[in-house]
């Protein structure tokens, strides 16, 4: 029996998958307005209806989660803004690691590595951008000044491009990249079952593992 440590509690994992599902639907129903060749799929507004149902889930899910556990929510949000020199080191070492499987130069990482933190920070910032610009286009479409609505489309599109590209990278690095294939130990396992092997935690998240090994921090 491999020794395992808990990485994500059940409510966090449920939030992740609900949000991921909503985002996937939002992404696809937005893509039909982004790629002209797919535009025929958007006719008669039916993708907009699906987009709005998914948008409601996208907005409501975190609002339900936050009050369930203010403390760990706050800790999680702070994590996205906690940057240091090891992050610079990670960025320098990342090409060799992800292309050549060379982990020599990789500095020790915390609960989230730099790449994960980058994505998490983008999710928070662009999530807010999506929601604000989206609500203005949804609710105030007939009353807001035309110029404002045009800028809202632009910002919604910038957020779409940024998160859409990172969405591919995120899926790729979690389950497709050759080094991430062992689904029993890595990223997939942490979000599917909530647990990773102690070995994986030690090698990939040394700073975090050191803390939980001392018992300072149980889980997050």
């Amino acid at each position: 029996m491999v020794q395992e440590v808990e990485r994500y509690k059940k409510p966090v994992r449920i939030l992740h998958w609900v949000h991921a599902g909503a985002f996937t639907v939002l992404f696809l129903t937005g893509l039909v307005l982004f790629i002209p060749a797919l535009g025929f799929l958007a006719q008669d507004s039916w993708t907009r209806i699906i987009h709005r149902v998914a948008a409601a889930v996208f907005i409501i899910a975190p609002l339900i989660y936050l009050p369930l556990d203010w403390k760990s929510s706050w800790k999680g949000i702070k994590e996205a803004f906690n940057w240091g020199m090891d992050d610079v080191g990670w960025l320098k070492a990342a090409p060799a690691y992800y292309f050549l499987a060379d982990e020599e130069a990789m500095p020790p990482q915390d609960h989230m590595n730099t790449g994960q933190k980058m994505w998490w920070l983008m999710v928070i910032i662009f999530g807010v951008v999506f929601v604000i610009t989206g609500i203005i286009m949804w609710v105030f479409k007939t009353v807001a000044p035309a110029a404002l609505l045009q800028w809202m489309v632009l910002f919604h599109d910038i957020a779409f491009i940024a998160t859409g590209v990172m969405f591919f990278v995120h899926i790729y690095l979690s389950v497709i990249h050759p080094l991430m294939r062992p689904t029993k130990t890595g990223a997939w396992s942490s979000m599917a079952r909530g647990k990773v092997s102690a070995e994986y935690a030690k090698s990939h998240h040394a700073k975090w593992y050191a803390r939980i090994a001392k018992g300072e921090e149980k889980k997050s």
Binding site: V32, L33, F34, I35, P36, L38, G39, F40, A42, Q43, D44, S45, W46, T47, R48, I49, H51, R52, Y98, F99, L100, A101, D102, W138, V139, K141, T142, A146, A147, L149, Q150, W151, V153, L154, D157, I158, F160, I161, G164, V165, F168, V169, Y172, I176, H177, P178, L179
Partner: protein, 283 residues
């Protein structure tokens, strides 16, 4: 067919609104009789303008402006309908080509069947012309505007007729023909007006937005008529469609390509690292 245009001469217009009626009749844009009981705001709001605004079923309407200048009061009339721009903001922002130019005439036509109801054209139009009814909760909508009588099944131009509004105009304030001829006629009329007590007379639309296909002869500066003096495609539309969106396509393509290349290289690197271990195991 050469490039076509409508020329509207505001100085000849009597605001009979025959064009409004002909437009509705030909394009079958019936609306309820405007009474409050029928849900139409028909109260006196201090103007003879009627209806009060364009709508999905009102593609053309006359605007009345009271203007005081040179010690006399003038009642000015303007046509409010699609100007059929060459550099059309609506065509630029339409996500799936539902709005497009007729390559022969230069008119901005649209396919209502494929319209997604996004409303980008409604917000982008510098003349604020397109209209749509919108379900605010679900967002389903369809845009409508003047088709210059090219609506499928009701296409007057293909049948060799002039647009309904032009056909009906009693004082010939509306004429239709080759765009070059309309410019010549418009310029001649402007010269005549300038020589006869309207020094500010202009031909509006000859070069605005690379040339409008509905041009106006005006006795005063366009702003007197509530028309944009220098109509432009908005900065937001240009930034979005000419900069951000192409960046998005390139970035998306490069990402997928880059991940594919990474997969091939990283898989090989991983195998190379595992191989020596395996060889040792074999020994």
């Amino acid at each position: 067919m050469a490039e076509k245009a409508i020329l509207y001469d505001s100085s000849k217009c009597t605001a009979c609104r025959g064009c409004q009626v002909a437009c509705k009749q030909w394009n079958m844009n019936d609306e309820a009789i405007p009474t409050i009981e029928n849900g139409v705001d028909s109260r006196n709001w201090g103007s003879y303008e009627n209806p009060r605004d364009l709508s999905p079923a009102t593609w053309l309407k006359m605007r009345f402006t009271e203007y005081e200048g040179g010690g006399k009061l003038q009642w000015l009339f303007t046509r409010q309908a699609c100007m059929h721009c060459t550099d059309a903001a609506c065509v630029r922002v339409c996500p799936n080509g539902s709005l497009y130019h007729n390559e022969a005439t230069g008119f901005v036509e649209y396919n209502k069947d494929t319209c997604t109801g996004c409303g980008y054209c409604v917000d982008a139009c510098p003349f604020s012309i397109p209209r749509s009814d919108r379900n605010l909760v679900f967002g389903n909508a369809k845009m409508d505007k003047c088709t210059l009588c090219t609506t499928q099944g009701l296409n007057r131009l293909d049948a060799g007729m002039e647009p309904a509004c032009v056909k009906t105009c009693p004082p010939n304030a509306l004429i239709y023909g080759d765009r070059a001829d309309m410019i010549t006629a418009g310029k001649a009329r402007v010269s005549a007006l300038r020589a006869n007590g309207s020094p500010d007379a202009v031909l509006y639309g000859e070069s605005e937005l690379d040339g409008l296909h509905v041009m106006y002869v005006l006795e005063h500066s366009p702003e007197v008529y509530n028309l944009p003096v220098n109509p432009k495609v908005s900065a937001a539309s240009i930034a979005w469609k000419d900069v951000i969106q192409p960046i998005g396509w390139i970035l998306g393509g490069l990402t997928i390509l880059g991940l594919g290349i990474n997969f091939i290289i990283a898989r090989k690197a991983k195998m190379n690292r595992e191989q020596p271990v395996k060889k040792e195991e074999e020994k």
